[in-house]
């Protein structure tokens, strides 16, 4: 039966979540029903920005008018309603993350609408973590009040740098001063505030990098996410690079690991540093393989082992989300592949893989294989304690290389029977 399902995806070509593949729908329906049983994480994608940054490859567009946003929110409500019908009950959010794009771009009345949709369509676990992404240039005082009065507990601010030159080079729409204002507004409003930073810019120096980190630390920010500038294929700079070469980033990352630790930020995940108790639970849910209900164009979700992705065409999403759903890609890994991916994700976190739990979920063989793959790398890259295997700070720096060791080889893959839908996705 499983094979015929995957065959129907291929044959139909349209795949996913519509009438032509009832079996798919049935499976995802099952998964949704199961997942609605317990609190889960919800991700909402707001694919709008004031302008497109040259390095960004995420789905977002510059709205021609407020009308498209209104229509989008309408569709979002439809998509959520459809999921609720599918599951047979309302989902209960343990964490909610409103990301983008630039969610702060929404006008206050649009925020009211979005809050109405989420409040009406979801239940919230008491103490649920609710995060929103904001960019300094579009952070409005009214929105901040609305967020505070509603359930929002965390704001993740796209600061990127507090160095004017770096910001200008990145062609960010905000100045350092604007970033500082936004930051103090968030902190003053009492939000747990996280800041996104970028390193690995061609002319960046350790001194500039230190100044930015130091100022953020002094300002009272207790969560930092650090990303290295990369030239993504689907971004403007992926097509015409801004510089002949980018630094390997070692010095910046290494410095941050050293400096932030001294200032009390623990590296709880490969890109995230936080003061005690400030970990982002939503973030961790991804790496621990928790259920995630993804809503909105280009959003991804993960329900009971099935990962799905919504189509990234906003207009199409607006037109079809209510009636047909938005899922365009589905993937369910099995066996060795599933274990490999789970290990890679867990190894992003400082906690790493709990071998006992891993063996229970994926089989003792897989747990043994994981240890076998990693063991040769020794203490320089690994930490083994309390039945866990995790990357040391040095291991985090070369995580890509270590992960490739962990991933299963194709030829390792067990019989095709077992690997239903494995590595296969149905495109809309």
């Amino acid at each position: 039966m499983r094979r015929s399902r995957s065959a129907s995806c291929d044959a139909g070509g349209s795949g996913g979540w519509n009438a032509s593949s009832l079996r798919d729908e049935a499976l995802l329906r099952n998964a949704a029903a199961l997942a609605s049983d317990a609190p889960l994480s919800v991700y909402v994608h707001i694919p709008f920005c004031v302008r497109k940054c040259p390095y960004c490859a995420f789905t977002s567009l510059v709205p021609a008018s407020g009308g498209i946003i209104d229509a989008y929110l309408e569709a979002l409500e439809g998509e959520l309603a459809r999921w609720t019908e599918t599951a047979g009950r309302m989902f209960c959010a343990e964490t909610l993350y409103i990301g983008g794009g630039t969610p702060s771009l929404l006008a206050p009345r649009q925020w009211e609408r979005l809050i109405g949709i989420l409040e009406g369509g979801l239940r919230f676990l008491p103490g649920a973590e609710v995060s929103v992404e904001a960019n300094p240039e579009s952070l409005a005082a009214t929105s901040l009040r609305l967020w505070r009065d509603w359930r929002i507990s965390r704001v993740s601010l796209g600061v990127q740098s507090l160095d004017e030159e770096e910001l200008a080079w990145l062609r960010r729409p905000h100045s350092a001063a604007r970033a500082r204002d936004a930051l103090s507004a968030c902190l003053a409003a009492g939000f747990r505030t996280s800041v996104d930073l970028m390193f690995g810019l061609p002319f960046q120096t350790l001194h500039r990098w230190h100044r930015t980190l130091q100022e953020l630390h002094r300002s009272g920010v207790r969560h930092l996410s650090l990303y290295q500038l990369t030239l993504e294929k689907d971004s403007v700079w992926g097509v015409c690079p801004p510089s002949e070469s980018l630094p390997d980033g070692y010095a910046f990352y290494r410095f941050a690991q050293w400096y932030l630790r001294r200032k009390g930020y623990g590296q709880y995940e490969i890109a995230s540093f936080a003061a005690p108790g400030e970990w982002c639970r939503h973030n961790l849910a991804y790496w621990r393989g928790g259920n995630v209900l993804g809503l909105g164009a280009a959003a991804w979700g993960f329900l009971e082992g099935i990962r799905y992705g919504n189509g990234n065409d906003v207009a199409r999403y607006v037109a079809e989300a209510r009636r047909e759903g938005a899922v365009s890609v589905e993937e369910r890994l099995e066996g060795r592949k599933r274990a490999g991916e789970a290990a890679v994700l867990a190894l992003r976190t400082a906690g790493g893989v709990r071998l006992r739990g891993f063996a229970r979920r994926h089989g003792p063989e897989e747990a043994a294989r994981l240890v076998r793959c990693l063991e040769p790398f020794g203490e320089r890259f690994l930490r083994r304690e309390f039945g866990r295997i995790a990357f040391s700070p040095g291991g985090m720096r070369v995580a890509n290389a270590l992960w490739t060791e962990v991933l299963a080889d194709d030829e390792d893959e067990a019989s095709p029977e077992e690997g239903f839908l494995s590595g296969r996705s149905c495109r809309r």
């Binding site: 991700y43 990301g99 650090l226 990303y227 290295q228 990369t230 993504e232 390997d248 980033g249 070692y250 990352y253 290494r254 490969i270 890109a271 991804y286 995630v292 993804g294 280009a298 959003a299 991804w300 993960f302 990962r307 992705g309 890609v329 993937e331 991916e341 890679v344 994700l345 790398f377 890259f381 720096r397 070369v398 995580a399 890509n400 290389a401 270590l402 992960w403 490739t404 991933l407 080889d409 996705s425």
Partner: protein, 603 residues
């Protein structure tokens, strides 16, 4: 046709001195080819020949010519390749003639190949008719060219012909001179058949076509013939001559030039230089001069796409049908997978084979850096032929290593003598002689290891002489050399594909270049990797590849998981494509680049 009315001749010249253009004019004037159909370089049949302006394959052509008295003659023009790689083929086609037009460019004068070819012709007892071409050029100095012919080659230039093949001046006089001055062939019709194969080509439909010069007796269709070198007998299907297209005739008699098609399937059965005789009434002995040409330059050919190995094999087999001088045997390479070790007569021959495989047979291939064959004398007294470093036995078993040498003669303006001598010394050359041809031009003779020559000598010579030097060479056999095999070790394991043979004095220098290059090309690994170059057990160069410090961390949110995993899978795939030597992953580029490292090593 009685032999008195036949003239067999060829044109010999240095490259670019206008041989093919002169041939075109002769065809035109004798109305052999309708001018409407005359393309430039008519006799060069391969597309490649026209493009490069060189001749690879010989196409003989029969022309009818009526002299001033009204007597009709048959003139057989045998075109010859103008490159040293094919000197044996040149010598065979010269052997099919009684005379040769020695063409010299009026502006450039005598060049290296002019001398080499002229001497070959003299050796074959050919009547030489000096022709000074390109007299229409503003820079033409015909007197100087003639003087050089006398001084350098030592031939009588009285009656030399001054022509311009381009504008057609003096062409009629050339034909007249051929009739009057080239001796008619001698040969008896009634004695047993002796026909010299001076070339053979493979045709998809007709099998092997032998180009022959009948010396004695005659050959006709239906006749049972024997190839004297290997004793194989076959029945003649067709004989004929070239106009230049093939035209069948009843028979070919003494002195005549034409083709023979027998039931021959491969060029190995009908080798250039062999003698055809009558199977029923064989000649006592073959015509002199047959030898099997042996490849002197070797390289590996590998398909770009590994699955295309069978196609490459087929293509090589087909190419070999056309060119029996190519040798190939299967081999495997760490970097390139399955391929073939091929032997060639020289660098141009190798280049041509490579291009023909790509053009005519549509095979994309990678060619490794060419090398020479060595003779390794073992302590046991046995002699081993080694084409690759991996063929070399342990240092302890080697008594001595011998390498092929060439005698190189170069013609150049005196201004460049210093630089060219320096170049020859750098290339381990041994001074032979220096003569002043004119006060401004010198002939320099050196003996040089072939290995140094094929590395990049030609390019270097051109650059130090600004293109004014010309060269020619001949093989002078094997000589003992102070050679060593340099092993390259990665993480203490020797990697065959990176080892090389070189002169002891160059081992450090080249070892360093190789190690440096590898350090550049092998990506950082999770641990430190030492790269060493060693002679025997002695490490002469060592460098370390520092371990990987950091790899990219880009933004990855929940949904990116699939994409991220795919990127990692791709990375893993990439790593799998790399060759694992011990724990070190070596990308293919490292192997490919290594195949060229020897060139960079010089800088």
């Amino acid at each position: 046709m009685e032999t008195g009315r036949i003239r067999n001749f060829c044109i010999i010249a240095h490259v670019d001195h206008g041989k093919s253009t002169l041939a075109d004019r002769l065809l035109e004037l004798t109305a052999t080819v309708d001018t409407r159909f005359l393309k430039a370089q008519h006799l060069d049949t391969l597309e490649l020949e026209r493009e490069r302006g060189i001749t690879i394959k010989l196409v003989p052509v029969r022309m009818r010519y009526r002299d001033r008295e009204g007597c009709e003659y048959i003139l057989n023009l045998i075109d010859t390749p103008g490159h040293v790689d094919f000197s044996y083929e040149v010598s065979r086609s010269l052997a099919a003639c009684e005379g040769a037009l020695l063409v010299v460019d009026a502006a450039q004068g005598v060049e290296a190949q002019t001398v080499a070819n002229a001497y070959l012709a003299v050796e074959q007892d050919l009547e030489l008719l000096p022709v000074v071409n390109k007299i229409d050029l503003a820079s033409a100095q015909p007197e100087r060219a003639l003087k050089e012919l006398e001084d350098v080659i030592g031939i009588d230039t009285e009656g030399a012909l001054l022509v311009s093949a381009k504008s057609g001046v003096g062409i009629a006089e050339v034909l007249d001179a051929v009739v009057r001055r080239v001796p008619a062939p001698e040969g008896a019709p009634e004695v047993p058949l002796q026909a010299l194969i001076f070339d053979s080509v493979y045709d998809n439909y007709r099998g092997v076509i032998c180009y022959v010069r009948v010396v004695n007796g005659s050959i006709r269709s239906g006749q049972q013939i024997t190839f004297m070198a290997n004793g194989i007998s076959d029945q003649v299907e067709e004989v004929g001559f070239f106009t230049p297209s093939m035209r069948a005739s009843e028979e070919l008699g003494p002195g005549e030039v034409g083709y023979v098609i027998a039931n021959v399937k491969t060029l190995h059965e009908a080798r250039v230089g062999d003698t055809i005789t009558d199977a029923r009434r064989p000649a006592e002995k073959p015509l002199p001069g047959y030898k099997r040409v042996k490849p002197v330059v070797f390289c590996g050919f590998y398909p770009v796409e590994r699955e295309e190995y069978p196609q490459l094999r087929d293509a090589l087999e087909k190419l070999q049908l056309n060119d029996s001088a190519i040798d190939f045997t299967p081999e495997t390479s760490a970097a390139l997978g399955f391929g073939f070790r091929c032997g060639f007569l020289g660098l141009l021959h190798m280049d041509i084979a490579k291009e023909r495989l790509q053009r005519e047979f549509n095979v994309d291939l990678v060619a490794t850096t060419p090398n020479v064959g060595y003779h390794v004398v073992l302590t046991s007294g046995e002699i081993l032929e080694a084409h690759r470093p991996s063929d070399f036995p342990d240092l302890g078993k080697i008594e001595e290593i011998r390498e092929p040498y060439i005698k190189l003669s170069m013609f150049l303006p005196t201004d460049y003598v210093g630089k060219v001598m320096q170049l020859c010394q750098d290339k381990r050359g041994v001074y032979g002689s220096m003569e002043y041809i004119t006060p401004e031009r010198v002939r320099l003779v050196y003996e040089l290891p072939l290995a140094e020559f094929i590395l990049d000598f030609h390019d270097k010579l051109k650059s130090v002489s600004r293109g004014y030097a010309s060269l020619d060479y001949e093989h002078v056999g094997f000589r003992q050399g102070n050679l060593v095999k340099v092993d390259v070790l990665l993480n203490d394991e020797p990697v065959d594909a990176f080892s090389f043979i070189c002169h002891q004095d160059a081992a450090y220098h080249r070892g360093q270049a190789v190690v440096r290059k590898l350090k550049e090309l092998i990506p950082r690994q999770l641990f430190e990797v030492p790269i060493q170059a060693a002679v025997g057990k002695k490490v002469i160069v060592r460098q370390n590849i520092k371990p990987l410090r950091k790899d990219v961390l880009s933004k990855c949110y929940g949904g990116d998981i699939t994409r991220k995993r795919k990127l990692l899978e791709k990375q893993k795939e990439g790593k799998k494509k790399m060759k694992q030597i011990g724990r070190v992953s070596i990308p293919q580029e490292a192997f490919l680049a290594f195949l060229k490292v020897s060139e960079d090593a010089e800088e």
